[in-house]
């Protein structure tokens, strides 16, 4: 948008790391007001901007902070003052008023505040950005991993990357390199001999089938484990935990994490105990500050590696989804300064292309367009080109109400090579059956792209990573059923993984 020729490389799929591993909360800032006022102020301004430029990714649900019986009653005043000081809107409310908003709140809820929290779909947000970046001329490639940097005299020359689609190695000679690799930022920096002080902090989230809350419900107490539940599409997400880990490979949810989250969150919403936990997931938060855990600031840090001996590398670490645009603005400011580009950043004002109202003449049923509006923000006209004439099309995923033509549409994109790629774009396979029926549909839509056995195996592995450690009750039975259905398919591979 500022006239710079840009290439973006992503080793996996878009949003397959930390950006997708959160609860999709668009922070009002209230969560950080007391302990991290800097982050709180960032959230206030950024959430307002995002509700404009990326409206199709946001459900403006509102939210609340509630104190439960045993909580310190003095914290409410501290919280209220901190919100005022940071500009976070928080309306003090009685238990009765809060119950009118959320009918499933515990009777033990004493009082609390209504805040401007909202829900953001991180996958949709990242994809909308990618589309918009492409429209402005950027070259964006997923499934391309950087394999080497050529460096001489403190300057990065040629950058080589491997395309996972065919194993071919491409190269580019950039003037400036931006390292925004999340949890892998440290290893990217060390590939060029740079150094990044970064701590990794892991948080677990649990997805439940169905919705018991209409907006976010937060615990009115200092940030702690299990203090939030967020409604998300057809499900709700409760979290989180916080523990430091040594590398991305330790990032796995545990049964203890899950039990702790259910115990804590059900103090606010007791019916959660009876809800069906579908899966647990998480991601490591790359934190910019030296400390880790709850005490560490969630703000971000921009590092120019010139002092460290690399004159054209900039790293951006820390931060959070709500402030991603601000982080990007600061980063591109630094890039433009290096390049001598004078144009201003306009990402805060321009509505992203995919967020522009583009309502197709509706060929689909009313319930289907409602589902598409929930998932995409609107009914995208370009998707309608593949709807069979005179037909409403065939439903592929009944949990999330995804139609075959939606799968076909995304499967035809060069970005999409795995079933999980297709799932992130359409939500097929995210429901309680975790792709039992629709993974075949997705494999089928993708089948020109690759090995079917491999597609299915990768997807089953990906889904099981999230469920295997925490699975129990009805969901365990569901998984048994799925194993049963998979058996004829897997037997063909010599009986492994029965």
């Amino acid at each position: 948008m500022r006239g710079v020729d840009v290439m973006l490389l992503e080793k996996g799929d878009f949003c397959s790391g930390s950006s997708g591993g959160n609860h999709g909360l668009l922070h009002s800032g209230a969560r950080y007001a007391v302990k991290d006022p800097e982050s709180a102020k960032e959230c206030v301004s950024e959430s307002r901007i995002l509700k404009g430029i990326a409206w199709n990714c946001i459900e403006d649900t509102g939210g609340m902070f509630v104190s439960v019986g045993k909580d310190d009653p003095g914290f409410a005043d501290v919280f209220h003052d901190a919100c005022k000081a940071t500009g976070v809107r928080a309306a003090r409310s009685t238990a009765k008023e809060l119950h009118q908003v959320e009918r499933n709140l515990s009777d033990d809820v004493a009082d609390g505040f209504l805040v401007d929290d909202a829900v953001i779909d991180p996958f949709r947000l990242v994809l909308t950005n990618i589309e918009d970046a492409r429209r402005h001329g950027a070259t964006v490639r997923n499934h391309c991993e950087v394999v080497s940097f050529e460096r001489s005299d403190g300057h990065i020359g040629e950058v080589k990357f491997k395309d996972q689609r065919n194993g071919s190695v491409g190269s580019v000679v950039p003037e400036v390199v931006v390292n925004a690799a999340g949890s892998s930022s440290g290893s990217i920096a060390s590939m060029v001999g740079g150094n990044l002080a970064m701590t990794r902090d892991y948080g677990t989230l649990v997805v439940f089938s169905g919705k018991l809350v209409s907006g976010t419900v937060n615990r009115l107490r200092p940030p702690s484990d299990g203090d939030i539940i967020v409604p998300s599409h057809t499900s709700m997400i409760a979290g989180t935990t916080s523990r430091s880990i040594s590398g991305p490979s330790d990032a796995r949810p545990t049964i203890e994490d899950k039990e702790l989250i259910i115990k804590e969150v059900s103090e606010m919403v007791p019916a959660l105990r009876g809800a069906r936990a579908i899966r647990a997931y998480g991601a490591s938060r790359p934190l910019a500050s030296g400390s880790s855990g709850r005490g560490a600031s969630r703000t971000f840090k921009l590092i120019d590696h010139e002092e460290g001996g690399v004159d054209n590398l900039i790293s951006i670490i820390g931060g959070k989804l709500t402030t991603y645009r601000m982080m990007a603005e600061r980063t591109s400011d630094a890039v433009c300064a290096k390049l001598g580009v004078r144009a201003n950043c306009t990402t805060g004002e321009e509505v992203m292309e995919a967020s522009r109202l583009d309502e197709a003449v509706t060929l689909v049923s009313a319930s289907q367009s409602e589902s598409m509006r929930r998932r995409y923000g609107h009914v995208p006209s370009e998707m309608m080109n593949v709807v069979p004439v005179g037909s409403m099309g065939v439903q592929s995923c009944s949990c999330e109400n995804v139609m075959r033509f939606e799968l076909e549409h995304y499967a035809s994109s060069e970005d999409v090579i795995t079933i999980a790629d297709l799932m992130r774009r359409t939500r097929a396979g995210m429901g309680y059956c975790q792709g039992t029926g629709c993974m075949w549909e997705m494999a089928s839509a993708l089948s020109d792209e690759g090995d079917i056995d491999l597609l299915i195996r990768d997807f089953v592995r990906e889904r099981r990573e999230g469920s295997s450690t925490v699975i129990e009750g009805d969901q365990l039975r569901q998984e048994m059923f799925r194993s049963h259905l998979l058996w004829p398919f897997q037997a063909a591979r010599g009986g492994e993984e029965r």
Partner: protein
């Protein structure tokens, strides 16, 4: 709730999958008054309809069953499959393989045959020829002919082509089986393949149509196994049909809500179907409710449980990761050496358990329908004796 008049039977069979049906049939052909109740979709119906009788008897023997009795039950179950299923309109074909004997409905192809290709299938499911054609309905996704053709080509050296017929749902809705048969004969005529794969569209007792299809087109037809596929449903239909012919009274959509047991003996079973409640006094009962997949057993947390809260259940409490699945499925209802159910640590003399409800017999574990049917014959023999 409406109370129906009390009913008296010699043997009550609970569960109407493969184990329940053969058990009820067996007691009925011996002249007993037998009722069978079932609810939902049994695992048999969800299966590939292929039946394996394992040579390895370690799982049923681990239940304490006598080896000689077991051998007898296995050979009776095999005979039942061949003779009785034929009378019910299902042509079962069997062959010896490395670890046992395998049976399947005529025309059904299982994935192993695709992987092993045309030459190494030991007589069963042989794909004769090197060129294959897959025909599918254009806009029906339950059988995706393109995907299937692709998988087939990837797994073997076969040359595979695919053809679509019937471009709209309307054509299918308004077509009779004979119209479809004509469509497939036409499509097969334009194929170069020697073997033609089609979605399952010919129903039970239509061996004649199947043969007509092959005769008119001059090609060999086969239908692949699919999730929730027709072969499993056909097998179940044939089993139910055999039980019915033997005089078994069958109630579907009914589940047990209570069992009255005193002094180690089952006296009465309470059955509920919608708003109707019925007390059934029985001489003996056989529980073939299935395992986790069939729905006879449930899961609470990570423990296998019996939803009735009646039986003693064997389970492994601890587990991690993917092991949980295997461990959960190895649980089941605890029985005595003659398959008598154990309730509160005591054997019940006239209540027997068979099939996937037994430990280690869950279909996910892989012991499958063959072993389930053999244990069901042992249970029905015991129930027949106990009811007298």
């Amino acid at each position: 709730m409406i109370d129906l008049p009390k009913k008296e039977v010699d043997v009550l069979v609970i569960g109407s999958g493969a184990a329940g049906a053969i058990s009820a049939w067996d007691s009925a052909v011996k002249g007993l008054d037998v009722s069978m109740i079932g609810v939902g979709t049994p695992a048999t119906e969800m299966s590939s309809g292929c039946i394996r009788f394992n040579d390895d008897r370690s799982v049923p023997e681990g239940l304490g069953l006598d080896r000689g009795d077991l051998e007898d039950a296995f050979s009776r179950a095999e005979r039942f499959l061949i003779d009785e299923m034929k009378t019910s309109g299902l042509k079962m074909e069997g062959a010896r393989r490395d670890q046992g004997r395998y049976y399947r409905c005529h025309g059904t192809i299982v994935p192993e045959n695709i992987v092993q290709g045309p030459t190494s299938s030991g007589g069963l499911d042989r794909i004769e020829g090197e060129r294959i054609c897959v025909i599918g309905f254009e806009d029906r996704t339950e059988f995706d002919h393109r995907l299937f053709a692709k998988a087939l080509a990837q797994r073997s050296d076969l040359r595979v082509e695919h053809i679509a017929v019937g471009t709209t749902n309307g054509v299918l809705r308004n077509s009779s089986v004979d119209d479809l048969l004509d469509m497939f004969v036409d499509a097969a005529g334009s194929a170069s393949g020697e073997v033609v794969f089609v979605p399952p569209f010919i129903s039970l007792k239509d061996i004649d149509r199947w043969e007509e299809l092959e005769k008119r087109s001059g090609r060999k037809f086969a239908e692949p196994v699919m999730d929730l596929g027709m072969p499993g449903a056909r097998l179940r239909d044939a089993l139910i049909s055999s039980a019915s012919r033997a005089g078994v009274s069958i109630t579907n959509g009914a589940s047990i809500v209570g069992m009255s047991i005193s002094k180690g003996s089952l006296n009465e079973v309470t059955v509920r179907s919608g708003h109707r409640l019925q007390h059934i006094e029985c001489g003996a009962a056989v529980f073939c409710g299935g395992g986790l997949v069939g729905g006879g057993l449930g899961v609470s947390g990570k423990d296998v449980i019996d939803p009735l809260g009646l039986f003693d259940v064997r389970y492994l409490r601890e587990g991690d990761g993917i092991d949980i699945l295997a461990r959960a499925s190895s649980g089941g209802i605890r029985t005595g050496p003659g398959l008598e159910a154990i309730v509160d640590g005591e054997k019940v003399r006239n209540l027997f358990v068979a099939g996937a409800s037994l430990p280690g017999m869950n279909i996910v574990e892989g012991n499958g329908i063959g072993d389930a049917m053999a244990t069901a014959l042992l249970a029905s023999k015991a129930a027949t004796e106990a009811s007298r």
